[in-house]
Protein backbone atom coordinates (compact mmCIF):
# COMPACT_ATOMS: atom_id res chain seq x y z
CA UNK A 1 0.00 0.00 0.00
CA UNK A 2 1.10 3.51 -0.64
CA UNK A 3 0.15 6.80 0.89
CA UNK A 4 -0.96 9.74 -1.17
CA UNK A 5 -2.04 13.20 -0.31
CA UNK A 6 -5.49 14.21 -1.36
CA UNK A 7 -5.06 17.45 -3.28
CA UNK A 8 -8.20 19.11 -1.99
CA UNK A 9 -7.27 19.18 1.64
CA UNK A 10 -3.93 17.65 2.27
CA UNK A 11 -5.39 14.82 4.34
CA UNK A 12 -3.27 11.74 3.80
CA UNK A 13 -5.20 8.54 3.34
CA UNK A 14 -3.76 5.15 2.59
CA UNK A 15 -4.59 4.17 -0.94
CA UNK A 16 -3.43 1.76 -3.55
CA UNK A 17 -6.46 -0.25 -2.52
CA UNK A 18 -6.72 -3.80 -1.30
CA UNK A 19 -8.11 -6.77 -3.17
CA UNK A 20 -11.20 -8.24 -1.55
CA UNK A 21 -12.36 -11.74 -2.38
CA UNK A 22 -15.48 -13.59 -1.29
CA UNK A 23 -15.02 -17.30 -1.88
CA UNK A 24 -17.96 -19.69 -1.74
CA UNK A 25 -19.41 -17.65 1.10
CA UNK A 26 -22.46 -19.16 2.73
CA UNK A 27 -24.69 -17.89 5.50
CA UNK A 28 -28.07 -19.11 6.67
CA UNK A 29 -30.41 -17.49 9.18
CA UNK A 30 -32.68 -20.33 10.27
CA UNK A 31 -34.56 -21.45 7.19
CA UNK A 32 -33.46 -18.44 5.16
CA UNK A 33 -30.36 -18.61 2.99
CA UNK A 34 -28.78 -15.18 2.93
CA UNK A 35 -25.65 -16.16 1.02
CA UNK A 36 -25.54 -19.26 -1.11
CA UNK A 37 -21.93 -19.68 -2.18
CA UNK A 38 -21.07 -16.12 -3.14
CA UNK A 39 -17.95 -15.79 -5.27
CA UNK A 40 -16.84 -12.25 -5.98
CA UNK A 41 -13.60 -10.32 -6.32
CA UNK A 42 -13.26 -6.60 -5.78
CA UNK A 43 -10.26 -5.17 -7.57
CA UNK A 44 -7.83 -2.79 -5.86
CA UNK A 45 -9.06 0.78 -5.84
CA UNK A 46 -12.39 0.12 -7.52
CA UNK A 47 -15.85 1.03 -6.32
CA UNK A 48 -18.02 -2.03 -6.58
CA UNK A 49 -21.73 -1.76 -5.95
CA UNK A 50 -23.60 -4.72 -4.52
CA UNK A 51 -27.06 -4.38 -6.01
CA UNK A 52 -30.11 -6.48 -5.49
CA UNK A 53 -33.60 -6.64 -4.02
CA UNK A 54 -34.23 -6.84 -0.27
CA UNK A 55 -33.05 -10.13 1.19
CA UNK A 56 -30.62 -10.91 -1.63
CA UNK A 57 -27.67 -11.07 0.78
CA UNK A 58 -25.82 -7.90 -0.14
CA UNK A 59 -25.84 -6.41 3.37
CA UNK A 60 -24.96 -9.78 4.89
CA UNK A 61 -21.88 -9.98 2.66
CA UNK A 62 -20.83 -6.49 3.69
CA UNK A 63 -21.39 -7.19 7.39
CA UNK A 64 -19.38 -10.39 7.18
CA UNK A 65 -16.55 -8.41 5.62
CA UNK A 66 -16.84 -5.80 8.40
CA UNK A 67 -16.83 -8.50 11.08
CA UNK A 68 -20.34 -7.85 12.39
CA UNK A 69 -21.74 -11.10 11.08
CA UNK A 70 -20.39 -14.62 11.06
CA UNK A 71 -20.40 -16.95 8.07
CA UNK A 72 -21.19 -20.65 7.87
CA UNK A 73 -18.56 -21.55 5.32
CA UNK A 74 -16.30 -20.01 2.71
CA UNK A 75 -13.61 -17.38 2.93
CA UNK A 76 -13.23 -13.63 2.89
CA UNK A 77 -9.78 -12.56 1.78
CA UNK A 78 -8.28 -9.10 1.90
CA UNK A 79 -5.04 -8.94 -0.02
CA UNK A 80 -4.94 -12.73 0.12
CA UNK A 81 -5.36 -12.91 3.91
CA UNK A 82 -8.40 -14.66 5.36
CA UNK A 83 -9.86 -12.11 7.74
CA UNK A 84 -12.84 -14.08 9.03
CA UNK A 85 -11.16 -14.84 12.36
CA UNK A 86 -10.04 -11.26 12.96
CA UNK A 87 -12.37 -9.33 15.33
CA UNK A 88 -14.28 -6.41 13.87
CA UNK A 89 -12.26 -3.76 15.69
CA UNK A 90 -9.02 -5.00 14.13
CA UNK A 91 -10.21 -5.45 10.55
CA UNK A 92 -9.01 -2.19 9.10
CA UNK A 93 -12.25 -1.53 7.25
CA UNK A 94 -13.99 1.84 7.53
CA UNK A 95 -17.76 1.69 7.36
CA UNK A 96 -20.55 4.17 6.79
CA UNK A 97 -23.89 2.88 8.03
CA UNK A 98 -27.38 3.24 6.64
CA UNK A 99 -28.77 4.86 9.77
CA UNK A 100 -27.05 7.89 11.21
CA UNK A 101 -24.36 6.33 13.35
CA UNK A 102 -22.50 9.33 14.69
CA UNK A 103 -21.94 9.22 18.44
CA UNK A 104 -24.55 11.68 19.75
CA UNK A 105 -22.44 12.80 22.73
CA UNK A 106 -19.43 13.80 20.63
CA UNK A 107 -18.86 16.75 18.31
CA UNK A 108 -18.16 16.19 14.62
CA UNK A 109 -14.44 16.64 15.30
CA UNK A 110 -14.47 14.16 18.19
CA UNK A 111 -16.48 11.69 16.12
CA UNK A 112 -13.87 11.77 13.37
CA UNK A 113 -11.07 11.56 15.93
CA UNK A 114 -12.72 8.68 17.82
CA UNK A 115 -10.90 5.89 16.02
CA UNK A 116 -7.55 7.60 16.49
CA UNK A 117 -8.36 8.00 20.19
CA UNK A 118 -8.95 4.25 20.39
CA UNK A 119 -5.56 3.70 18.82
CA UNK A 120 -3.83 6.00 21.28
CA UNK A 121 -2.91 8.75 18.81
CA UNK A 122 -1.82 11.94 20.59
CA UNK A 123 -4.53 14.54 21.12
CA UNK A 124 -2.86 17.17 18.93
CA UNK A 125 -2.27 14.77 16.08
CA UNK A 126 -5.78 13.40 16.08
CA UNK A 127 -7.36 16.83 16.26
CA UNK A 128 -5.26 18.03 13.33
CA UNK A 129 -6.06 14.99 11.27
CA UNK A 130 -9.76 15.08 12.13
CA UNK A 131 -9.85 18.72 11.08
CA UNK A 132 -8.16 17.80 7.78
CA UNK A 133 -10.71 15.07 7.16
CA UNK A 134 -13.59 17.41 7.88
CA UNK A 135 -12.10 19.76 5.29
CA UNK A 136 -11.89 16.84 2.89
CA UNK A 137 -15.64 16.23 3.21
CA UNK A 138 -16.37 19.95 3.06
CA UNK A 139 -17.41 20.49 6.68
CA UNK A 140 -14.53 22.29 8.42
CA UNK A 141 -16.94 24.82 9.92
CA UNK A 142 -19.00 22.06 11.61
CA UNK A 143 -16.14 20.70 13.73
CA UNK A 144 -17.71 21.82 17.00
CA UNK A 145 -21.27 20.80 16.15
CA UNK A 146 -23.05 17.83 17.68
CA UNK A 147 -24.89 15.35 15.42
CA UNK A 148 -28.31 16.73 16.38
CA UNK A 149 -27.14 20.15 15.16
CA UNK A 150 -26.37 18.82 11.67
CA UNK A 151 -28.52 17.76 8.73
CA UNK A 152 -28.67 14.13 7.59
CA UNK A 153 -26.34 14.83 4.67
CA UNK A 154 -23.82 16.53 6.93
CA UNK A 155 -23.96 13.65 9.39
CA UNK A 156 -23.22 11.16 6.64
CA UNK A 157 -20.28 13.29 5.46
CA UNK A 158 -18.89 13.26 8.99
CA UNK A 159 -19.48 9.50 9.13
CA UNK A 160 -17.50 9.20 5.89
CA UNK A 161 -14.66 11.25 7.36
CA UNK A 162 -14.74 9.05 10.47
CA UNK A 163 -14.58 5.92 8.33
CA UNK A 164 -11.54 7.28 6.49
CA UNK A 165 -9.77 8.48 9.62
CA UNK A 166 -8.04 5.19 10.36
CA UNK A 167 -6.68 4.91 6.80
CA UNK A 168 -8.65 1.71 6.14
CA UNK A 169 -7.74 -0.78 3.47
CA UNK A 170 -11.38 -1.10 2.48
CA UNK A 171 -14.27 1.34 2.65
CA UNK A 172 -17.70 -0.17 3.24
CA UNK A 173 -20.84 1.83 2.47
CA UNK A 174 -24.08 0.25 3.66
CA UNK A 175 -26.82 2.18 1.85
CA UNK A 176 -25.43 5.45 3.23
CA UNK A 177 -27.74 7.61 1.13
CA UNK A 178 -31.03 5.84 1.68
CA UNK A 179 -32.17 8.06 4.56
CA UNK A 180 -31.47 11.31 2.70
CA UNK A 181 -33.74 13.39 0.52
CA UNK A 182 -33.31 13.25 -3.24
CA UNK A 183 -31.27 16.42 -3.71
CA UNK A 184 -28.81 15.75 -0.90
CA UNK A 185 -28.56 12.19 -2.07
CA UNK A 186 -27.50 13.27 -5.53
CA UNK A 187 -24.83 15.69 -4.33
CA UNK A 188 -23.48 13.27 -1.72
CA UNK A 189 -23.14 10.42 -4.16
CA UNK A 190 -21.06 12.64 -6.41
CA UNK A 191 -19.02 13.64 -3.37
CA UNK A 192 -18.44 10.03 -2.35
CA UNK A 193 -17.42 9.08 -5.87
CA UNK A 194 -15.04 12.05 -6.11
CA UNK A 195 -13.40 11.16 -2.79
CA UNK A 196 -13.17 7.48 -3.62
CA UNK A 197 -11.46 8.22 -6.92
CA UNK A 198 -9.21 10.81 -5.34
CA UNK A 199 -8.11 8.42 -2.61
CA UNK A 200 -8.16 5.26 -4.71
CA UNK A 201 -9.57 3.22 -1.85
CA UNK A 202 -11.23 -0.13 -2.55
CA UNK A 203 -14.91 0.44 -1.83
CA UNK A 204 -17.92 -1.81 -1.49
CA UNK A 205 -21.20 0.00 -1.80
CA UNK A 206 -24.43 -1.76 -0.89
CA UNK A 207 -27.56 -0.37 -2.45
CA UNK A 208 -30.94 -1.44 -3.76
CA UNK A 209 -31.13 1.70 -5.90
CA UNK A 210 -30.06 0.78 -9.42
CA UNK A 211 -29.60 4.41 -10.46
CA UNK A 212 -27.20 4.95 -7.57
CA UNK A 213 -25.26 1.80 -8.42
CA UNK A 214 -25.03 2.53 -12.15
CA UNK A 215 -24.00 6.14 -11.68
CA UNK A 216 -21.35 5.60 -9.00
CA UNK A 217 -19.75 2.22 -9.44
CA UNK A 218 -16.86 1.00 -11.57
CA UNK A 219 -18.58 -2.37 -11.57
CA UNK A 220 -21.93 -3.54 -10.32
CA UNK A 221 -22.52 -6.98 -8.81
CA UNK A 222 -26.17 -8.01 -9.01
CA UNK A 223 -27.17 -10.49 -6.31
CA UNK A 224 -30.25 -12.65 -6.18
CA UNK A 225 -31.12 -15.05 -3.37
CA UNK A 226 -27.56 -15.07 -2.06
CA UNK A 227 -25.96 -15.74 -5.40
CA UNK A 228 -24.13 -13.57 -7.88
CA UNK A 229 -26.15 -13.12 -11.06
CA UNK A 230 -23.72 -10.87 -12.90
CA UNK A 231 -20.80 -8.57 -12.15
CA UNK A 232 -20.00 -6.09 -14.92
CA UNK A 233 -19.49 -2.46 -15.70
CA UNK A 234 -22.70 -0.44 -15.55
CA UNK A 235 -22.88 -0.04 -19.33
CA UNK A 236 -22.36 -3.74 -19.96
CA UNK A 237 -24.87 -4.66 -17.30
CA UNK A 238 -27.43 -2.42 -18.92
CA UNK A 239 -26.75 -3.33 -22.53
CA UNK A 240 -25.92 -7.02 -22.14
CA UNK A 241 -27.56 -8.45 -19.04
CA UNK A 242 -26.62 -12.06 -18.46
CA UNK A 243 -30.03 -13.11 -17.18
CA UNK A 244 -33.63 -12.00 -17.43
CA UNK A 245 -33.51 -11.14 -13.72
CA UNK A 246 -30.65 -8.70 -14.28
CA UNK A 247 -32.30 -7.31 -17.38
CA UNK A 248 -35.51 -6.59 -15.54
CA UNK A 249 -33.92 -5.47 -12.27
CA UNK A 250 -31.56 -3.01 -13.92
CA UNK A 251 -33.50 -0.43 -15.89
CA UNK A 252 -36.95 -0.83 -17.35
CA UNK A 253 -37.78 -3.70 -19.66
CA UNK A 254 -40.84 -4.83 -21.61
CA UNK A 255 -41.61 -8.48 -22.25
CA UNK A 256 -43.19 -9.27 -25.61
CA UNK A 257 -44.27 -12.79 -26.62
CA UNK A 258 -42.33 -14.15 -29.62
CA UNK A 259 -42.07 -17.32 -31.72
CA UNK A 260 -38.99 -19.35 -32.62
CA UNK A 261 -37.79 -18.71 -36.10
CA UNK A 262 -34.70 -20.80 -36.80
CA UNK A 263 -31.99 -19.43 -34.52
CA UNK A 264 -33.84 -16.13 -34.31
CA UNK A 265 -37.22 -15.04 -33.01
CA UNK A 266 -40.31 -13.63 -34.66
CA UNK A 267 -42.08 -10.82 -32.85
CA UNK A 268 -45.02 -8.75 -34.08
CA UNK A 269 -44.73 -10.38 -37.49
CA UNK A 270 -41.05 -9.64 -37.98
CA UNK A 271 -37.97 -11.83 -37.53
CA UNK A 272 -35.17 -10.67 -35.23
CA UNK A 273 -31.63 -11.92 -34.75
CA UNK A 274 -30.62 -12.99 -31.27
CA UNK A 275 -27.24 -12.64 -29.54
CA UNK A 276 -26.35 -15.95 -27.94
CA UNK A 277 -28.48 -19.05 -27.78
CA UNK A 278 -32.21 -19.34 -27.43
CA UNK A 279 -33.68 -21.17 -24.42
CA UNK A 280 -33.76 -24.88 -25.23
CA UNK A 281 -37.51 -25.29 -25.19
CA UNK A 282 -40.81 -23.68 -24.39
CA UNK A 283 -42.49 -20.47 -25.45
CA UNK A 284 -40.40 -17.31 -25.64
CA UNK A 285 -40.52 -13.68 -24.60
CA UNK A 286 -38.23 -11.03 -25.99
CA UNK A 287 -37.03 -8.30 -23.64
CA UNK A 288 -36.61 -4.78 -24.98
CA UNK A 289 -35.75 -1.46 -23.38
CA UNK A 290 -38.19 1.47 -23.73
CA UNK A 291 -35.61 3.63 -25.48
CA UNK A 292 -35.30 0.97 -28.21
CA UNK A 293 -39.01 0.75 -28.91
CA UNK A 294 -40.41 3.06 -31.58
CA UNK A 295 -44.06 4.10 -32.05
CA UNK A 296 -45.47 5.36 -35.31
CA UNK A 297 -48.85 7.12 -35.09
CA UNK A 298 -51.18 5.06 -37.22
CA UNK A 299 -54.95 5.17 -37.49
CA UNK A 300 -56.27 1.73 -36.47
CA UNK A 301 -52.73 0.63 -35.46
CA UNK A 302 -52.16 -2.55 -33.41
CA UNK A 303 -51.08 -0.72 -30.25
CA UNK A 304 -53.35 1.43 -28.10
CA UNK A 305 -51.69 4.16 -26.03
CA UNK A 306 -52.90 3.57 -22.45
CA UNK A 307 -50.71 5.91 -20.42
CA UNK A 308 -48.07 8.62 -20.68
CA UNK A 309 -45.49 9.67 -18.07
CA UNK A 310 -43.62 12.92 -18.55
CA UNK A 311 -39.94 12.39 -17.68
CA UNK A 312 -38.49 15.68 -18.90
CA UNK A 313 -36.85 15.47 -22.29
CA UNK A 314 -38.58 12.15 -22.93
CA UNK A 315 -42.06 10.90 -22.28
CA UNK A 316 -42.68 7.25 -21.46
CA UNK A 317 -45.70 5.88 -23.28
CA UNK A 318 -47.29 2.55 -22.45
CA UNK A 319 -49.14 0.84 -25.28
CA UNK A 320 -51.31 -2.27 -25.13
CA UNK A 321 -51.55 -4.88 -27.85
CA UNK A 322 -54.68 -6.85 -28.66
CA UNK A 323 -53.46 -9.85 -26.58
CA UNK A 324 -53.00 -7.62 -23.53
CA UNK A 325 -49.20 -7.30 -23.77
CA UNK A 326 -48.02 -3.93 -22.55
CA UNK A 327 -44.93 -2.31 -24.08
CA UNK A 328 -43.15 0.78 -22.83
CA UNK A 329 -41.59 3.27 -25.22
CA UNK A 330 -39.51 6.36 -24.45
CA UNK A 331 -40.07 9.02 -27.08
CA UNK A 332 -38.84 12.59 -27.27
CA UNK A 333 -41.51 14.61 -25.52
CA UNK A 334 -42.33 16.55 -28.70
CA UNK A 335 -42.86 13.32 -30.66
CA UNK A 336 -44.91 11.83 -27.86
CA UNK A 337 -47.33 14.75 -28.15
CA UNK A 338 -48.58 13.18 -31.39
CA UNK A 339 -49.64 10.07 -29.45
CA UNK A 340 -52.18 11.07 -26.81
CA UNK A 341 -53.71 8.45 -24.56
CA UNK A 342 -56.39 6.59 -26.54
CA UNK A 343 -54.65 6.96 -29.91
CA UNK A 344 -53.20 4.01 -31.81
CA UNK A 345 -49.78 3.31 -33.27
CA UNK A 346 -47.58 0.69 -34.88
CA UNK A 347 -44.68 -0.66 -32.78
CA UNK A 348 -41.16 -0.94 -34.15
CA UNK A 349 -38.60 -3.06 -32.32
CA UNK A 350 -34.79 -3.01 -32.45
CA UNK A 351 -32.93 -5.41 -34.75
CA UNK A 352 -31.67 -7.32 -31.75
CA UNK A 353 -33.63 -7.45 -28.51
CA UNK A 354 -31.73 -7.18 -25.25
CA UNK A 355 -32.50 -10.73 -24.28
CA UNK A 356 -34.74 -13.67 -25.11
CA UNK A 357 -36.15 -15.57 -22.16
CA UNK A 358 -38.61 -18.34 -21.42
CA UNK A 359 -42.11 -16.98 -21.39
CA UNK A 360 -43.40 -15.77 -18.09
CA UNK A 361 -47.05 -16.52 -17.54
CA UNK A 362 -49.07 -13.37 -17.01
CA UNK A 363 -52.28 -13.14 -15.04
Amino acid sequence: MSTVTAPASGASVVTGGATVEFRSLRRRFGATTALDGLDLTVRPGELLALLGPSGCGKTTALRILAGFETHDSGEVLVDGEDITRIPAHKRDAGMVFQSYSLFPHLTALDNVAFGMRMRGTSKTERRNRAQELLELVGLPQRAGHYPHQMSGGQQQRVALARALALKPRVLLLDEPLSALDAKVRLSLREEIRRLQQELGITTLFVTHDQEEALSMADRVAVLRAGRLEQCSTPSELYARPATAFVAEFVGTMSRIPGERSGDGVEVLGRRHEVDGELPADGALDVLVRPENVGLVPTANGRALVVSASFLGSVTRLTVRLADGTEIKSDLPTEAAAALPVGSTAEVTLPERPVLVDRRVATA
Binding site: F97, H105, M118, R162, A165
Partner: protein, 273 residues
Protein backbone atom coordinates in the same frame (compact mmCIF):
# COMPACT_ATOMS: atom_id res chain seq x y z
CA UNK B 1 -58.97 26.92 16.06
CA UNK B 2 -57.63 29.77 18.19
CA UNK B 3 -60.48 29.36 20.66
CA UNK B 4 -59.75 25.62 20.89
CA UNK B 5 -56.09 26.31 21.69
CA UNK B 6 -57.02 28.87 24.33
CA UNK B 7 -59.50 26.37 25.85
CA UNK B 8 -56.78 23.73 26.00
CA UNK B 9 -54.39 26.21 27.63
CA UNK B 10 -57.03 27.20 30.16
CA UNK B 11 -57.76 23.54 30.95
CA UNK B 12 -54.07 22.81 31.35
CA UNK B 13 -53.61 25.78 33.65
CA UNK B 14 -56.63 24.74 35.72
CA UNK B 15 -55.31 21.21 36.20
CA UNK B 16 -51.90 22.58 37.22
CA UNK B 17 -53.53 24.99 39.65
CA UNK B 18 -55.64 22.26 41.28
CA UNK B 19 -52.59 19.99 41.59
CA UNK B 20 -50.51 22.84 42.96
CA UNK B 21 -53.12 23.65 45.60
CA UNK B 22 -53.49 19.97 46.45
CA UNK B 23 -49.78 19.70 47.22
CA UNK B 24 -48.97 23.18 48.45
CA UNK B 25 -51.77 23.77 50.97
CA UNK B 26 -51.00 20.78 53.24
CA UNK B 27 -47.26 21.52 52.94
CA UNK B 28 -47.71 25.16 53.85
CA UNK B 29 -50.03 24.23 56.72
CA UNK B 30 -47.48 21.73 58.02
CA UNK B 31 -44.64 24.26 57.85
CA UNK B 32 -46.74 26.89 59.63
CA UNK B 33 -47.74 24.40 62.31
CA UNK B 34 -44.16 23.21 62.81
CA UNK B 35 -42.85 26.75 63.46
CA UNK B 36 -45.86 28.08 65.36
CA UNK B 37 -45.07 29.15 68.91
CA UNK B 38 -47.97 28.60 71.31
CA UNK B 39 -46.89 31.74 73.18
CA UNK B 40 -47.13 33.77 69.97
CA UNK B 41 -44.72 34.31 67.03
CA UNK B 42 -42.58 31.62 65.45
CA UNK B 43 -40.02 29.16 66.74
CA UNK B 44 -37.66 26.65 65.14
CA UNK B 45 -37.39 24.64 68.34
CA UNK B 46 -38.84 21.51 66.75
CA UNK B 47 -36.18 21.58 64.04
CA UNK B 48 -33.22 22.30 66.32
CA UNK B 49 -34.37 19.57 68.71
CA UNK B 50 -34.66 17.22 65.79
CA UNK B 51 -31.19 17.91 64.44
CA UNK B 52 -29.69 17.49 67.90
CA UNK B 53 -31.61 14.30 68.62
CA UNK B 54 -29.42 11.21 69.11
CA UNK B 55 -29.16 8.97 66.05
CA UNK B 56 -30.14 11.61 63.50
CA UNK B 57 -26.84 11.72 61.62
CA UNK B 58 -26.19 7.98 62.02
CA UNK B 59 -29.55 7.03 60.52
CA UNK B 60 -29.27 9.57 57.72
CA UNK B 61 -25.75 8.38 56.87
CA UNK B 62 -26.92 4.76 56.89
CA UNK B 63 -29.78 5.58 54.55
CA UNK B 64 -27.50 7.44 52.14
CA UNK B 65 -25.00 4.59 52.20
CA UNK B 66 -27.75 2.05 51.56
CA UNK B 67 -29.06 4.18 48.71
CA UNK B 68 -25.60 4.49 47.15
CA UNK B 69 -24.85 0.77 47.34
CA UNK B 70 -28.35 -0.15 46.11
CA UNK B 71 -27.94 2.11 43.08
CA UNK B 72 -24.51 0.62 42.34
CA UNK B 73 -25.70 -3.00 42.65
CA UNK B 74 -28.84 -2.35 40.65
CA UNK B 75 -27.04 -0.65 37.77
CA UNK B 76 -24.28 -3.26 37.75
CA UNK B 77 -26.94 -5.95 37.40
CA UNK B 78 -29.34 -4.25 35.03
CA UNK B 79 -27.16 -2.35 32.59
CA UNK B 80 -25.08 -5.32 31.39
CA UNK B 81 -28.19 -7.52 31.25
CA UNK B 82 -30.18 -5.03 29.19
CA UNK B 83 -27.26 -4.28 26.89
CA UNK B 84 -26.54 -7.96 26.35
CA UNK B 85 -30.19 -8.55 25.52
CA UNK B 86 -30.23 -5.68 23.01
CA UNK B 87 -26.97 -6.65 21.38
CA UNK B 88 -27.10 -10.41 21.41
CA UNK B 89 -30.49 -11.77 22.36
CA UNK B 90 -33.33 -9.39 21.52
CA UNK B 91 -35.81 -12.24 21.99
CA UNK B 92 -34.97 -12.26 25.70
CA UNK B 93 -36.20 -8.69 26.18
CA UNK B 94 -39.80 -9.64 27.05
CA UNK B 95 -38.49 -12.24 29.51
CA UNK B 96 -36.30 -9.66 31.23
CA UNK B 97 -39.21 -7.23 31.29
CA UNK B 98 -41.45 -9.76 33.04
CA UNK B 99 -38.75 -10.69 35.55
CA UNK B 100 -38.03 -7.05 36.34
CA UNK B 101 -41.72 -6.28 36.78
CA UNK B 102 -42.39 -9.18 39.17
CA UNK B 103 -41.56 -7.21 42.35
CA UNK B 104 -44.48 -4.94 41.53
CA UNK B 105 -46.95 -7.74 42.16
CA UNK B 106 -45.31 -8.94 45.39
CA UNK B 107 -46.43 -6.84 48.40
CA UNK B 108 -43.53 -5.45 50.41
CA UNK B 109 -44.82 -7.14 53.56
CA UNK B 110 -44.88 -10.50 51.80
CA UNK B 111 -41.35 -9.94 50.47
CA UNK B 112 -40.12 -8.98 53.93
CA UNK B 113 -41.82 -11.94 55.56
CA UNK B 114 -40.05 -14.17 53.08
CA UNK B 115 -36.72 -12.56 53.88
CA UNK B 116 -37.34 -13.02 57.61
CA UNK B 117 -38.08 -16.69 56.98
CA UNK B 118 -34.81 -17.13 55.08
CA UNK B 119 -32.78 -15.29 57.72
CA UNK B 120 -34.23 -17.46 60.49
CA UNK B 121 -33.53 -20.64 58.60
CA UNK B 122 -30.71 -22.92 59.65
CA UNK B 123 -30.23 -25.27 62.59
CA UNK B 124 -27.56 -24.50 65.18
CA UNK B 125 -25.18 -27.20 64.01
CA UNK B 126 -24.70 -25.18 60.80
CA UNK B 127 -23.51 -22.14 62.74
CA UNK B 128 -19.89 -22.65 61.74
CA UNK B 129 -20.62 -22.95 58.03
CA UNK B 130 -19.90 -20.10 55.60
CA UNK B 131 -23.58 -19.97 54.63
CA UNK B 132 -24.71 -19.39 58.20
CA UNK B 133 -21.99 -16.84 58.78
CA UNK B 134 -22.97 -15.06 55.59
CA UNK B 135 -26.56 -14.87 56.78
CA UNK B 136 -25.33 -13.33 60.02
CA UNK B 137 -22.97 -10.95 58.23
CA UNK B 138 -25.63 -9.51 55.95
CA UNK B 139 -27.62 -8.50 59.06
CA UNK B 140 -24.83 -6.36 60.53
CA UNK B 141 -26.74 -3.33 61.93
CA UNK B 142 -23.93 -0.95 60.97
CA UNK B 143 -24.56 -1.81 57.33
CA UNK B 144 -27.34 -4.34 56.75
CA UNK B 145 -26.62 -5.85 53.34
CA UNK B 146 -29.93 -7.66 53.55
CA UNK B 147 -31.66 -4.30 53.15
CA UNK B 148 -29.65 -3.65 49.99
CA UNK B 149 -30.83 -6.99 48.61
CA UNK B 150 -34.43 -6.15 49.43
CA UNK B 151 -34.16 -2.63 48.01
CA UNK B 152 -32.61 -3.92 44.79
CA UNK B 153 -35.63 -6.15 44.32
CA UNK B 154 -38.06 -3.36 45.13
CA UNK B 155 -36.38 -0.83 42.86
CA UNK B 156 -35.96 -3.27 39.97
CA UNK B 157 -39.20 -2.39 38.12
CA UNK B 158 -38.58 1.36 38.33
CA UNK B 159 -34.93 1.19 37.37
CA UNK B 160 -35.78 -1.19 34.53
CA UNK B 161 -38.39 1.20 33.12
CA UNK B 162 -36.01 4.14 33.28
CA UNK B 163 -33.16 2.25 31.59
CA UNK B 164 -35.40 0.65 28.99
CA UNK B 165 -36.81 4.05 28.04
CA UNK B 166 -33.25 5.36 27.63
CA UNK B 167 -32.20 2.37 25.55
CA UNK B 168 -35.21 2.79 23.27
CA UNK B 169 -33.97 6.27 22.43
CA UNK B 170 -30.52 5.06 21.37
CA UNK B 171 -29.64 2.76 18.49
CA UNK B 172 -27.33 0.67 20.66
CA UNK B 173 -26.53 -1.92 18.01
CA UNK B 174 -25.44 0.63 15.40
CA UNK B 175 -23.49 2.69 17.92
CA UNK B 176 -21.58 -0.35 19.17
CA UNK B 177 -20.89 -1.51 15.61
CA UNK B 178 -19.70 1.95 14.65
CA UNK B 179 -17.43 2.07 17.70
CA UNK B 180 -16.02 -1.37 16.96
CA UNK B 181 -15.51 -0.37 13.35
CA UNK B 182 -13.45 2.54 14.69
CA UNK B 183 -11.19 0.17 16.60
CA UNK B 184 -12.91 -0.08 19.99
CA UNK B 185 -13.27 -3.50 21.62
CA UNK B 186 -16.58 -4.52 23.20
CA UNK B 187 -15.83 -3.02 26.62
CA UNK B 188 -14.51 0.27 25.26
CA UNK B 189 -17.45 0.54 22.91
CA UNK B 190 -19.84 0.22 25.85
CA UNK B 191 -17.93 2.57 28.17
CA UNK B 192 -16.97 5.25 25.65
CA UNK B 193 -20.07 5.28 23.46
CA UNK B 194 -23.11 3.56 24.97
CA UNK B 195 -22.96 4.61 28.61
CA UNK B 196 -22.36 8.32 27.90
CA UNK B 197 -25.49 8.27 25.75
CA UNK B 198 -27.48 6.61 28.53
CA UNK B 199 -26.53 9.26 31.08
CA UNK B 200 -30.09 10.54 31.51
CA UNK B 201 -31.52 7.02 31.80
CA UNK B 202 -28.88 6.05 34.35
CA UNK B 203 -29.58 9.20 36.31
CA UNK B 204 -33.33 8.59 36.22
CA UNK B 205 -32.87 5.03 37.43
CA UNK B 206 -30.58 6.24 40.22
CA UNK B 207 -32.96 9.03 41.27
CA UNK B 208 -35.93 6.65 41.47
CA UNK B 209 -33.90 4.14 43.44
CA UNK B 210 -32.58 6.73 45.89
CA UNK B 211 -36.09 8.09 46.41
CA UNK B 212 -37.37 4.58 47.11
CA UNK B 213 -34.55 3.72 49.53
CA UNK B 214 -34.76 6.98 51.48
CA UNK B 215 -38.50 6.59 51.94
CA UNK B 216 -38.73 2.83 52.53
CA UNK B 217 -40.00 2.01 56.00
CA UNK B 218 -41.75 -1.37 56.11
CA UNK B 219 -38.86 -3.72 55.39
CA UNK B 220 -36.33 -1.85 57.51
CA UNK B 221 -38.74 -1.64 60.41
CA UNK B 222 -39.81 -5.30 60.32
CA UNK B 223 -36.19 -6.46 60.02
CA UNK B 224 -35.27 -4.26 62.97
CA UNK B 225 -32.85 -1.82 61.38
CA UNK B 226 -32.86 1.93 61.86
CA UNK B 227 -32.27 3.86 58.66
CA UNK B 228 -33.58 7.41 58.42
CA UNK B 229 -37.21 6.51 57.72
CA UNK B 230 -37.42 4.29 60.81
CA UNK B 231 -35.64 6.89 62.95
CA UNK B 232 -38.10 9.56 61.80
CA UNK B 233 -41.01 7.37 62.72
CA UNK B 234 -39.73 6.56 66.19
CA UNK B 235 -38.61 10.12 67.00
CA UNK B 236 -41.63 11.90 65.69
CA UNK B 237 -44.09 10.34 68.07
CA UNK B 238 -43.07 12.18 71.22
CA UNK B 239 -44.23 15.63 70.19
CA UNK B 240 -46.86 16.69 67.64
CA UNK B 241 -44.88 19.67 66.38
CA UNK B 242 -41.73 17.60 66.11
CA UNK B 243 -43.49 14.84 64.15
CA UNK B 244 -44.54 17.38 61.54
CA UNK B 245 -41.04 18.87 61.51
CA UNK B 246 -39.69 15.38 60.93
CA UNK B 247 -41.96 14.90 57.91
CA UNK B 248 -40.93 18.22 56.42
CA UNK B 249 -37.27 17.61 57.09
CA UNK B 250 -37.36 14.16 55.51
CA UNK B 251 -39.07 15.60 52.44
CA UNK B 252 -36.47 18.33 52.20
CA UNK B 253 -33.58 15.88 52.53
CA UNK B 254 -34.98 13.64 49.78
CA UNK B 255 -35.55 16.64 47.52
CA UNK B 256 -32.09 18.02 48.13
CA UNK B 257 -30.47 14.65 47.35
CA UNK B 258 -32.52 14.26 44.16
CA UNK B 259 -31.88 17.83 43.06
CA UNK B 260 -28.15 17.38 43.69
CA UNK B 261 -28.13 14.23 41.56
CA UNK B 262 -30.02 15.96 38.75
CA UNK B 263 -27.74 18.98 38.97
CA UNK B 264 -24.65 16.77 38.73
CA UNK B 265 -26.11 15.07 35.64
CA UNK B 266 -27.07 18.35 34.00
CA UNK B 267 -23.78 19.99 34.96
CA UNK B 268 -21.76 17.31 33.22
CA UNK B 269 -23.94 17.54 30.14
CA UNK B 270 -23.69 21.31 29.83
CA UNK B 271 -19.95 21.24 30.54
CA UNK B 272 -19.59 18.84 27.62
CA UNK B 273 -21.58 20.93 25.20
Amino acid sequence: MASLISKIRFGRGLVLLVCGVYFAVPMAASVIFSIDDSKGGTTFRAYTDLLNAPGFMDSLTLSLELAGVTVAVLLLLLVPALLAARLGAPKLRPVIEVICSLPLVVPVVALTTGIVGVLRWGPDYLSDTPLFQTIVAIQDPSFPIVLVIAYVLMALPFAYRALDAGLRGVDVVTLVEAARNCGAGWARAVFTVVLPNLRSALLNAAVLTVALVLGEFTTASILGFAPFSVWISSNGKSDGQMSVAVSILSLLIVWVVLLLMSAVGRGRKSARS
